[in-house]
Amino acid sequence: MISLILYELYKIIKQRVLLILILIFLIFNVVQLFLVRDIDAFIGMDTSNVFKKFEGSVTDAKANWVLEEKTKYDKLLGNDNLREKMQKAKEEADSLSIDNPSEMETVNSNDTADLPGKYSLKIAYDYIIICRLDYEINYIRNWEKQNISLKKLIERNIDRYKGKPEYKYEYLKWNLYKNNVNSIKSPTLFYNTGWDKLYKYISNDLLVLLLILVAFSTVFSNEYALGTDRIIRSSIHGKSSTVTAKFAASFIYALVIYAVFIIIDLVFFKIYYDMPGWHNSLQSIQTFSNSPFAFSIGNYLVILLLTKLLGLMMFGVIILFLSSAFKTSYMPLFIGGIMILIPVLLKSRMPDLEINTLLKFMPDSNIFPQSFFTRYDVYNIFNIPVSYMVICISVTLLAAIVCSIGTYKFFNNAR
């Protein structure tokens, strides 16, 4: 079996078109990663080091200090004309035309006697950093207030539905919510831009998906196109064993490609952002403010990567099935592309369409899984609250199982 798997892997990776695509996508990925680098550090804003001084839970002392500094800067830069000039100076710095922004680009204030002398661009950057700190502190404080309100709301609803059999689902739903929410730790203040960008980047990444789609489309259909399937299927291991070997080889290929791209992503983000605070609660990142999961940021990374990998593999199984059903690779490629493209386009461009309720459970949701973790989303399945993620994964898993069985049948009985 190992020999068969290795030969099947060889068949996949020896496709010239695929090798070229892998190379192009790797280069494209690196270029994309360059574009998500830490602009702050690149233009000389010392955001991460400033945040380091304030890391941890939000205290009154921190909040008051930041507020005082912000007020000072607001007063200092209260002149609208000057503020515009500062903004323009920052925009010019952002266009990467400045080597050492702290020394260049000065702004004169002749408009008010309260603003003595010249102001370097560093003041603008410091002001921006203070504003961000203030923003994060306000976010965390608001989160804490909202969390208290949420807990009260949950308790009220639990009391409302307690002891009422006709509301069994609602009672269970709020209880489940309560268990989740009670486990969540308060958000922590730290420089989380890197994590936020990383999660968005990984969650929306299409490149690995396309490489899987292209490779898997050919796994069976190439055998039909070449006519090698007749020789294969007339041999002792040419039926079920060959299908198993093809599945195994395809998964190995997908895993390696996925790992390579993810490792490159993580290395780049580590270099750009250092990525501190992996032990902090997921809710420290605003995208996940409503997440009902008590994950740490680091835990979430692992879960996200595994969920995405599972989604890609299950989608891959569906493509393998299509490959076994068609004599050319164009149809699996086309159908696979449609399966991903249409739900993604409809959900993003026409979110209010009724059909999006069903499209939520299509395989693409497993491949771009961030929405599983951003809010409490459960459905009534026989009066039991089942999370959106569980339903989505189950539907795709079921489809994958059916497709696996179908693949064996199609290939073993192909004419």
Binding site: S3, Y7, R230, I231, R233, S235, G238
Partner: protein
């Protein structure tokens, strides 16, 4: 070893491809002769377990091949019509891959591959990519892969299609060499493929087994039915008559035609010794014209 084909019928939709085909095969070369669309490949595919018959069964040594499953395929060597191969595989790698499919031990596979490459005269081409091979080389590689597991049943579906005469002769010699202790079924519509090597000829027409006969007996049946006749330039009516013409030769004294006819087709017709081509024309002449 006995391969029993019992009442095999195959429909493709409404089209009847095989009609109650029955035969018992033992060691030796069987030539399956018939025109295009006669059902030869369908029969081959059924024997090779690539197709399920609509009716009927195939038995090997008394056991149904469907039930034998992988055990039967272990005894099978199959060269399909226009065999596909991976262009970016070398010849040896391809044989090693097929060896893995046939369950050969890794160490044995390497030796066997070398032996077979030598047997089919491809030893020096072992490292070359199949994409660079000629049609004849591919066919030879095809026969090599079919022999990897030393099969008891060897199925060759139109193995010489597209080969030049030299390649065909080479191929025939290989088949003769390997046909000992095996059931070899060779389907073709090229009579010279089986003329000299077939133990028995199976004539198949419109899905039916027309005849199962020794080559010599088939030729004997045509004795007294093959004629040579000189025709004049003006005599253009032969194409219209119900005579089967197997050859037209332009000679100094005129045009000679070789006719297959139970009756003497004219005064100047001379009896000829039947050839295998005449058998094909006699049985399938109208079918071929269709």
């Amino acid at each position: 070893m006995v391969l029993t084909i019992r009442d095999i019928t195959k429909y493709y939709g409404n089209k009847l491809a095989l009609d109650s085909f029955s035969i018992e095969l033992t060691q030796g070369v069987y030539g399956l002769l018939g025109p295009n669309g006669a059902g030869k490949s369908t029969l081959m595919n059924i024997i090779a377990t690539l197709l399920k018959p609509s009716k009927g069964m195939v038995f090997y040594n008394g056991e149904e091949i469907i039930k034998m499953n992988a055990r039967y395929r272990d005894k099978l060597g199959y060269l399909p019509q226009n065999p596909g191969m991976y262009k970016n595989f070398s010849a040896k790698r391809f044989l090693l891959y097929i060896s893995a499919l046939k369950g050969l031990d890794k160490n044995d596979a390497g030796k066997k591959a070398e032996q077979l490459l030598e047997m089919v005269n491809l030893k020096s081409e072992g490292k070359r990519k199949i994409g660079e091979f000629s049609g004849g080389m591919r066919q030879r590689l095809g026969i090599a892969q079919a022999l990897l597991n030393d099969p008891e049943i060897l199925i060759l579906d139109e193995p010489t299609a597209g080969l030049d005469p030299k390649e065909r002769i080479r191929f025939r010699n290989i088949i003769s060499e390997i046909s000992r202790n095996r059931i070899v079924i060779l389907s073709t519509h090229i009579v010279s493929d089986i003329e000299y090597i077939a133990k028995k000829v199976l004539l198949i027409k419109e899905g039916k087994l027309l005849k199962e006969e020794l080559p010599g007996n088939l030729l004997k049946e045509l004795e007294g039915k093959v004629w040579s006749k000189l025709i004049s330039e003006n005599d253009g009516s032969y194409a219209e008559k119900n005579n089967l013409i197997s050859n037209i030769t332009l000679q100094n004294d005129g045009t000679y035609i070789r006719i297959i006819s139970p009756d003497k087709p004219g005064e100047n017709a001379e009896l000829q010794t039947p050839r295998f081509e005449d058998i094909y024309l006699y049985y399938f002449g109208e079918e071929s014209e269709k």
